[in-house]
């Protein structure tokens, strides 16, 4: 089973990249605009990741040492942008930071010029919005891993701030920051929906967007293939680097209780400025959508129902595919040694490095000689979404599978437990909680995706994110906000159902 999954994954990632070059018109020459898209992608990803991680350091430090009412809620909220549909985040940011947004209104009132975020500022702002919370959670986990005794020792020695930094923070940052930076760099490098919505044209075009344009606007398959190859090589290079540094864990568990910190009081005001401003930065855009959208849900066109059903169907299909693949890989590799573990890790990173639009373009070209590719828009979207969620599902499931094998395998062999009993009585009950969490992630990520569907979309087929993008395009901002509310509600509901389903059973294995 593991082999089959591996083969399918390789076909999807490398196979489609090869298909793009061989099935199309060979490789097309890249123009000046393509090179500037490549430069922009690298530059903005570097800046976005750098800013996210840098700002996350004081925020995580503050959260690590201060306790206050609502702290747990805020930490939970930090997990939300990860499953928040990108296009919803963008809509919210425009409502706050756009030319017609709250801040521009205030600036105009005070006699200043309006903000203009289309282009690099908007792209980077959106990337920081999505990744600052992620980086903060990574760092917070780093802080949580420091034994409380160490804080006590350093504090009782009345160590200078410099000694505190050198003894505690520096080792912690050194172990978390490179991995967090690389992961966020990779996520920003393959950014599509953000650049599509606020890139503002050639000045904010990422490689992923350039592939879409070469394909959908110019129908220049040769150039799309070349760009796809560049994207694949860049991501591959980052993936190799990621192999060399430990990537942070993304499960977000174990952040509940932090050691009581004796140094908390002295930094109170600075810490709360960081906490408050990051919370406002996260909450304002979401609040803007909620206040604008809630009242207009009733006025939505009836197509919202079809779009909802389509989105949920894609999400559920994608979840089943993703979880089957993740389980297959986990079972296959959990028992083997270091090499297998590295291989499994590599597969996960391959999934991260694979660009959805490259896969979509490759599949289009593979299907094209035989059938109308648009016919397969939904299955293709579901499978690509499954593949995109796989790295995250693997990271949640793999350790749990490995642990169960380690704890019970000898017992199973000595008691001669049947396969069925092993699976249903021992393995699955123990995996139920991570399984629920992973399925929730996969479903929510797929619900919010606006990538491959844009490549294959035709006018009468749409998912909720696509409908939202089209309403934004038609400048029906009230209705767009209403669709955003529906979309977020459905994403959260799916996530909650799966996650809840996993937890409900956890106590009675």
């Amino acid at each position: 089973m593991g082999g089959a999954v591996l083969a399918a994954l390789l076909l999807f990632s490398i196979g489609t990249a090869v298909a793009v070059t061989t099935q199309g018109q060979g490789l097309g020459a890249l123009g000046a605009a393509d090179w500037s898209a490549i430069r922009f992608s690298l530059w903005q990803a570097c800046l976005s990741a750098g800013l996210s991680v840098t700002i996350a350091i004081p925020v995580a430090r503050a959260l690590a040492r201060q306790s206050f009412v609502g702290r747990q809620a805020l930490i939970t909220l930090l997990g939300a942008p990860f499953i928040l549909p990108v296009i919803v985040g963008v809509l919210g940011l425009l409502a706050v930071f756009g030319r017609a947004g709250w801040i521009s209104d205030a600036l105009t009132w005070a006699g200043f010029a309006k903000l203009s975020i289309y282009g690099a500022p908007g792209v980077i702002l959106a990337h920081v919005f999505f990744n600052l919370p992620l980086a903060t959670r990574f760092l917070l986990q780093g802080w949580a891993a420091v034994p409380s005794e160490r804080f006590k020792v350093v504090h009782s020695l009345a160590a200078s701030p410099w000694a505190y930094f050198r003894l505690i923070e520096w080792p912690l940052l050194k172990s978390v920051v490179p991995g967090a930076f690389l992961l966020i760099f990779l996520l920003c490098l393959t950014s599509f929906a953000v650049a599509l919505a606020v890139g503002g044209g050639p000045r904010g075009t990422t490689i992923e967007l350039a592939i879409y344009q070469a394909f959908r606007l110019d129908f220049d398959l040769g150039r799309a293939a070349s760009l796809a190859l560049v994207q694949f090589s860049l991501c591959g290079a980052v993936a190799v680097m990621a192999f060399l540094v430990p990537l942070p864990q993304t499960d977000g568990l174990g952040l509940g209780q932090l050691p009581q910190r004796l140094d908390a009081y002295g930094h109170r005001s600075v810490d709360f400025i960081w906490i408050a401003s990051s919370a406002v930065f996260l909450i304002l855009p979401l609040g803007a959508i909620l206040t604008r959208g809630l009242g207009h849900i009733a006025s939505l066109p009836h197509q919202v129902i079809a779009a909802s059903i389509t989105s949920v169907l894609i999400a559920l299909t994608s979840t089943v595919v993703c979880i089957s693949m993740a389980l297959g890989l986990s079972f296959a590799f959990a028992r083997r040694g270091r090499v297998a573990r590295n291989l499994a890790e590599g597969v996960g990173i391959l999934g991260l490095a694979t660009s959805p639009l490259v896969v979509g373009t490759g599949l289009f070209l593979l299907i094209f000689p035989f059938a109308h590719p648009m016919t397969f828009a939904l299955p293709i979207t579901a499978s690509v979404n499954a593949m995109m969620a796989l790295p995250f599902a693997l990271r949640v499931l793999m350790p749990a599978v490995r642990e169960t094998y380690a704890d019970y395998l000898i017992l199973r062999n000595s008691l001669n437990v049947t396969r069925w009993v092993w699976l249903h009585r021992i393995l699955l009950p123990r995996l139920r909680r991570p399984l629920g969490f992973a399925a929730g992630l996969a479903a929510a990520l797929s619900m919010g995706d606006l990538g491959v569907i844009a490549l294959f979309a035709d006018p009468d087929l749409q998912t909720l994110p696509l409908m939202l993008y089209r309403l934004m395009g038609a400048y029906r901002m009230d209705q767009a906000a209403a669709v955003a509310v529906v979309l977020v509600a459905q994403s959260l509901a799916l996530f909650w159902m799966f996650d809840r389903g996993g937890r409900g059973y956890a106590g009675s294995p």
Partner: protein, 325 residues
Amino acid sequence: MRTTSLFAGLFLATTAMADTPVLTVYTYDSFVSDWGPGPAIEAAFEASCGCDLQMIGAGDGAALLARLKLEGSRTDADIILGLDTNITVAAAETGLFAPISVTANYTVPGGWADPLFAPFDWGYFAFVKNAEIESPTNFRALADSDLKIVIQDPRSSTPGLGLLMWVKAAYGNDAAQIWADLNDNIVTVTAGWSEAYGMFLEGEADMVLSYTTSPAYHLIAEGDASKSYAVFDEGHYMQIEVAGKLANTDQTALADQFLQFMVSDAFQSIIPTTNWMFPAVTPVAGLPDGFPNTLNAAQSLIFSPTEAAALRNAALAEWQTALSQ
């Protein structure tokens, strides 16, 4: 109905068969919007054709062509309505269009003779603004001003491509410099005309690339005289919008009937106050009060389809390079 097609899309390729023949027309989004010509034209044609006219909005004009290339000979479309003369050569090169035999007394400036495409309306590109904003009188003055504009992507939108041609027609080899100077005036580049015009109406920009006829919409349909367009002394580029018939349509007779209907008074009299363009054949009743005058020949810029096709790629590269700075 929607659910059936959803499941069909999920699992199988099926074609819905109905008793009445279906004529499928791909067109641009604003044409089929509730306030566009689509609904009235559908009613008028279906009254006499004994068919089901399905008009499908597929992005802006230039995106129509890209979509057609993507679908190739498998397309469901019988008619493509909404290309313009800047891309008819590229459209003809796909080999997907069939010769047509439409006859009409066109009032399109410069007359009309094209074996594959028939015009349905035309207009002049212009930057539309609130009347109280002081107009720049040409692109150089616009570039020097602090005015913010929204334009369309030339790869997906025919107005976007028209703007490229406009700057090229007015400035020739200096076009790249004009674009470099305009860069800081551009708020954003949208995929289509609808997006850009919507942003302008919401106050996200001072001016938007549209048509000299757009202010008439606000005047006639809304009784609002607050919009005007900036008169440019280098002239205004023209757009002639056309439709063509797909070679492998399964509704040849019906497609021919539609194209002939397109240049009839029934269709042409709908155009001025729904698509807000000059009709390709002036209606018997004339143009409505409040419609702007046509410009004289010296103020009207246009490249022939072959000139435009030859210029397109270089002009696009210039535009992309200047705007990616």
